[in-house]
Amino acid sequence: MAFLDNLINGISLGSIYAVIALGYTLVYGIAKMLNFAHGDVIMVGGYVIFTAMTSMHLNGYLSVLIAILCCTILGIVIEKIAYKPLRQATSLAVLITAIGVSYFLQNMALLIFGEKPVTFTSVVNIPKISLFDGQIVIKSEAVASIIISVLIVIFLSLFINKTKSGRAMLAVSEDKDAARLMGINVNKTISLTFAIGSGLAAVAGALLCSTYPVLSNTTGAMPGIKAFVAAVFGGIGSIPGAMIGGLLIGVIEILGRAYISPQLADAIVFAVLIVVLMVKPTGILGKKVNEKV
């Protein structure tokens, strides 16, 4: 039963990684950049919820909505100020800028909220699930994480494959100039991608902080990196890949922590990534990219 318990915890954590990884993969797929500040948007989302609930005494769900709104705007602003001027620059310049944005967000949070971690009140209030006469209890946060991540993957896939804006994203992802020739506003499409990715980060922030209720300015950093690993693992640019990658990383991390060594859990995650990349460099569902000259 302990194994099942661990497995469920892994799936729950993996679902949160999946939601973060979706943001990574979406932005990478369309803007062709690694937004290393993505993890810190999660932290911002967490603080927005925390502030709305403690200072403004709003209820949890309303606070999450406010956080989604704030993070969506934050994502658009970050893209406009930090990344858009670098559209023609080398990918290395963009990467370094993203790291800069990441530190900027962390330090702003440090300045505003101080270095002392705060205790986060869970926003989830759905009932927990008891199985086998209470031998296995799935916490309500775990239930919420799993359901919400599945819903997000479904809606995101429908949005991208069935709507005009989604089709524009696919076109921009494949060939920006050809997309322009179709009348697609590439800048607006990239902006929309950042908006969606950052909105998802706020959702991830709500789930992450509800499950692990300690919030500090570096809360988003490690989950951000793990979710990046998940996105690469599943095949960066692929939506189902991000989901599968997230779940696998979550399960590997929790099982590694339980059965191999709590200290080595993170190392195991990265070791698995290295092995996968040696066997299949494009990740599990990754497509082979034909670089155009």
Binding site: L170, D175, A178, R180, L181, M182, G183, K287
Partner: protein, 236 residues
């Protein structure tokens, strides 16, 4: 007034000047050929026209609107469709999705459906393969898709960059037959081609581009008999 009027257009790639002040015009209903060797500036001209490349100086007037300051995505809506060199279809999307993307600037559902039918009539092969991933089409079929995609925007002028490049002789003839039928429907065409013989045979007028300058222009039927053109571009 000409539909499209290019005046003293200069374009740079960094410090290299690709177009050195070219001027030409396209009237409604005409087929104009732009011929010249590799690197003469033909593709650069088209890219500047549709807003992919910025102009350094000069003007491009389309039905009275200046295009050099207009972003690419708005130029399509004004009625210029570009069939790019190398086709540039969306390889990972289906044929149908490619055609739908061609109509991206339009919101008239019925009109789009109507044009989709016209395109299937013109290119029956595209209808047969509409749910196929575009990257799996043959080169000739991809060219047809690129042309169909451009027509889906219901343009006033269609600009084609090397439509016959890399195709087998049968497909080359087929592509030129299609251009002929598009012009018969009253479409204005600006055609860039390495296959000067075929291009001159189909065009009303033509311009010869050499290292960023227009060196010759006139009726296509005159140019096809011009000694210099024959020697340089027709391989006679």
């Amino acid at each position: 007034m000409a539909m499209l009027e290019i005046k003293d257009l200069s374009v740079f790639y960094g410090v290299i000047q690709a177009l050195k002040g070219i001027s030409f015009e396209v009237n409604e209903g005409e087929v104009i050929a732009l011929i010249g060797a590799n690197g003469a500036g033909k593709t650069t001209t088209l890219h500047t026209l549709t807003g992919i490349l910025p102009a350094k100086s000069g003007s491009i007037m389309f039905n009275g609107t200046e295009l050099t300051k207009t972003p690419a995505h708005k130029i399509v809506k004004m009625g210029i469709a570009h069939v790019p060199e190398g086709r540039r279809i969306f390889q990972q999307l289906t044929v149908l999705d490619n055609l739908k993307l061609g109509a991206f600037t339009r919101n008239d559902k019925d009109g789009i459906a109507e044009d989709m039918n016209l395109i299937y009539k013109r290119f029956p092969r595209l209808e047969e393969r509409k749910s196929q991933i575009a990257g799996t089409l043959s080169g000739g079929e991809q060219q047809m898709l690129a042309m169909g995609r451009a027509l889906m925007s219901r343009p006033k002028i269609i600009v084609m960059d090397e439509p016959s490049m890399g195709l087998s002789p049968i497909f080359v003839s087929e592509i030129f037959d299609i251009i002929e039928s598009i012009r018969k429907d009253g479409m204005t065409v600006l055609l860039v081609e390495q296959n000067a013989k075929k291009a001159l045979a189909i065009a009303d007028r033509a311009y010869v581009l050499e290292t960023g300058r227009i060196t010759l222009s006139g009726k296509a039927s005159d140019l096809i008999n011009d000694e210099k053109v024959k020697k340089a571009y027709l391989g006679e």
